[in-house]
């Protein structure tokens, strides 16, 4: 697979953003967030660009990129499935739904299917506790789930 930095337009976009923002106070988080937005993930060569442009050691960037759960070093699948494992969802039985998702997709949480189609995450509270148990696929929210709803929902993304 070609590296994501092969896309010159994207690299230029990131460089322009860094040039514009490196003067603000505490610029690293917004810049890493922008990089993830542009490339979808933060592999080493993207971190390298940031280090180069900001003139700071790459270890600083790697430290931040691996600390926060929303930064991904590997690319995600085409559809990202996030099952809420917040307390409200957990006490309303989200665990059996997670098990069903694992079974249907054949992967555990944190992984991506071999065809690159789906990533499965057990997420932190999504904040729609009134709909518990809740799952998000990309930007769409599915609420009041039962394990048997899963195959039908996944079929929408085939």
């Amino acid at each position: 697979m070609a590296t994501v930095t092969a896309d010159k337009a994207k690299v230029d976009e990131l460089k322009a953003y860094i040039a514009e923002h490196k003067g603000i106070k505490g610029p690293l988080m917004p810049i890493i967030q922008k990089a993830q937005e542009i490339f979808g993930c933060l592999p080493i060569d993207v971190q390298d660009v940031i280090a180069e442009e900001m003139g700071i050691p790459m270890t600083d960037i790697y430290g931040v990129a691996t600390f926060y759960s929303q930064f991904a070093l590997e690319p995600k699948g085409e559809h990202v499935i996030g099952l809420c494992m917040g307390t409200a969802c957990y006490v309303k039985n989200s665990q059996p739904i997670l098990e069903r998702l694992r079974k249907e997709l054949g992967i555990s949480e944190g992984a991506t299917t071999p065809d690159g189609k789906y990533s499965l995450d057990a997420t932190r509270c999504l904040g729609c506790c009134g709909l518990a148990p809740v799952m998000m696929i990309d930007d769409r929210v599915y609420g009041r789930l039962k394990p048997d709803d899963i195959p039908g929902i996944l079929a929408e993304y085939k």
Binding site: M29, G63, T87, A88, C125, L126, G127, C129
Partner: protein, 596 residues
């Protein structure tokens, strides 16, 4: 200004939005225009109404008709029947379980006992329109502060009001400002902690989504009080709607000259920037949050020095939670005495709770301090669904503890909750019924803290992991005598030794469940039984001989070959082979398999 004969309020909070409220809003506008009513009726997208359970919610004023679980398909009927002909659509009106008659907004028990200060504008105004905020006295407090009050007057007012930090610790807000004001220097910062990480808590999100200007106004007031000119809002990246509305609010406030240079011609400058988190629970801790704003790993720093002396970029910084801030403009306008007249002796004002879990009315409630848990859960919350029995409520999320039935009548404030082994926390209130296993709930919270521990200090990094391992063993049916004592000992050591609030409070869910539900731990360890019937490894599947017809369906589906027997006579499950997958129970058409 245009006058309308009716207003249709459509909830745009996260819960209702997820339920499709933006489609409802669009359809409402189209249908109203189609009926030629667009000059008479105004559609407003508001923040959260609070009663998320029955969302998406639509309210029609002046009647205050409360439509619940509205679908896009229902919109033409609401428009043609209610708005055009004046006939309410009865089938969509929210009905309480045990009440008949008038059910307009102010008569619903969910709202009746609430006192809304922090949530005053949520579900009332369009949060994306600064004029609506101003029309309800918005920015009047900032005007008053800048033109009539000295910085010290502001601090004195907040001290006298008795307002305490709503993020959980309950530190007096006025005192915190005083510390920061006392430090010399002209580079200071105001930080709004909007990193609401407690799972099951969404008070701050609703304020940010429903009334963002209240937070901006309060930050400017605090800036004036301590002599700061820059504010940061550190918001969870998981709250995209809140982030968007904050951006709109900041832009509008700048256009109106309510943020920026020389506000109200007073010579006072104040600007606000939003910084996004990236998914780290520990960043809700103020020193970790500060590290994150600076662009570092969100690891806590030892205190002292406190942020009031050395905070963001090592400058004096005042950090407040969203809900705390939302109270401030009201206190300035209505006075410290008004605020102090509500609540208990040591805790004034109100507190917002996010009700979730096994409760009929999931949603947001704001009640005066001193209200009992029983009133919150049973009067406002509508009790436990499906006729189940209440077991416990968890406050304070992964840092808090559980409150069992015997303490339901405790008046809620910071001190009383700490006294019974829980804590106020930021306001998450998760209800559990008889089907929830307390040992497993403790395991769930520990799993969370182990994952979120930043790893800086060993008591938290290693200690919580050891506790989790013991709990995992217990719920897997492999608990040993002495495990409970070990958990207690480890818990006490972690509380003592951890660097920050995350670690110091991490053992609380375990210690409080041991305190009140020790028998559940003992049953798991000694009898290998989960009294709630929740823990999979301790479940026991048996075939009821009187119901089994011997069809062999269960034996065929069993992946472990644990079921055997002769066709047309009752089958049996070999308990040693059974992996408790439950496949047999799904297959049995005769209800002949029992699980305990």
């Amino acid at each position: 200004m245009d006058l309308y004969r009716a207003h249709v309020l459509v909830c745009g909070g996260t819960g209702c939005h997820s339920g499709g409220s933006s489609d409802i809003l669009a359809s409402m506008e189209t249908e109203i225009a189609k009926s030629g009513l667009d000059k008479e009726i105004k559609v407003v997208k508001t923040g959260c109404f609070g009663l998320c359970e029955v969302g998406p919610v639509v309210i029609v004023y002046p009647e205050g008709t409360f439509y619940s679980r509205v679908k896009v398909e229902d919109v033409p009927e609401i428009v043609s029947e209610h708005l055009l002909k004046g006939r309410k659509v009865e089938r969509l009106i929210y009905k309480e379980h045990d009440k008949a008659g008038d059910q307009s907004l102010e008569n619903i028990s969910f709202y009746k006992s609430q006192v809304r200060i922090a949530l005053r504008n949520c579900g009332v105004i369009n949060p994306e329109n600064i004029d609506e905020y101003i029309a309800l006295d918005g920015y009047a407090a900032l005007g008053k502060v800048l033109t009539e009050m000295k910085p010290q007057d502001v601090i004195e007012t907040l001290k006298a009001s008795g307002l305490r930090g709503r993020g959980g610790a309950g530190f007096p807000t006025g005192m915190k400002l005083q510390f920061c004001a006392n430090v010399p220097g002209d580079e200071k910062y105001v930080v709004c902690n909007a990193d609401e990480g407690d799972p099951g808590a969404f008070m701050d999100r609703s304020v940010l989504e429903g009334d963002p200007h209240a937070v901006l106004e309060a930050m400017a007031i605090e800036g004036y009080a301590i002599g700061a000119h820059t504010g940061y809002i550190y918001c969870r990246a998981e709250y995209p709607i809140a982030v968007k509305r904050l951006g709109i609010a900041i832009k509008q406030a700048k256009e109106y000259g309510l943020l920026g240079k020389n506000i109200f011609d007073s010579g006072f400058d104040f600007d606000i920037e939003v910084r996004l988190g990236a998914g780290a629970f520990v960043c809700g801790e103020e020193t970790a949050l500060i590290a994150s704003i600076e662009g570092e790993r969100g690891e806590p720093r030892p205190r002292p020095p406190f942020p009031a002396n050395s905070g963001v970029f090592r400058k004096p910084t005042n950090v407040n939670n969203v809900e705390t801030l939302a109270n401030i403009p009201r206190i300035i306008l209505k006075g410290a005495d008004w605020f102090a007249s509500m609540g208990t002796e040591k805790c004034k004002g109100t507190k917002v709770f996010a009700l979730g879990g096994k409760i009929n009315n999931t949603g947001l409630v704001e009640i005066p301090m001193g209200t009992t848990l029983r009133e919150i859960l049973f009067d406002i919350g509508g009790g436990i669904p499906n006729g189940k029995k209440f077991k416990a409520a968890q406050t304070g999320g992964p840092s808090g503890g559980c409150i069992p039935t015997e303490h339901l009548d405790t008046p809620i404030d910071y001190e009383s909750l700490t006294a019974i082994g829980s804590m106020m926390g930021s306001g998450g209130l998760i209800v559990m019924d008889e089907d929830n296993c307390m040992v497993d709930v403790a395991r769930f919270f520990l799993d969370f803290t182990v994952d979120e521990s930043c790893g800086k200090c060993p008591p938290c990094r290693i200690g919580t992991k050891r506790m989790l391992e013991i709990l995992e063993r217990i719920v897997a049916g492999k608990g040993k005598p002495g495990d409970i004592e070990k958990l207690e000992e480890l818990g006490a050591m972690i509380k003592e030794g951890a660097l920050c609030g995350l670690g110091k409070t991490a053992p609380n869910p375990v210690l409080s469940t041991i305190k009140y539900f020790r028998h559940e731990y003992e049953a798991h360890i000694n009898d290998k039984v989960c009294p709630a019937g929740h823990c999979k490894a301790l479940k026991r599947y048996t075939i009821l001989t009187e119901k089994c017809v011997g069809c062999s369906a269960c034996a065929k589906v069993c992946p472990a070959d644990a079921i055997s027997g002769q066709i047309k006579s009752p089958y049996v499950i070999d308990q040693d082979k059974c992996i408790k997958c439950g496949a047999c129970i799904e297959k049995c058409k005769f209800g002949a398999i029992e699980v305990k």
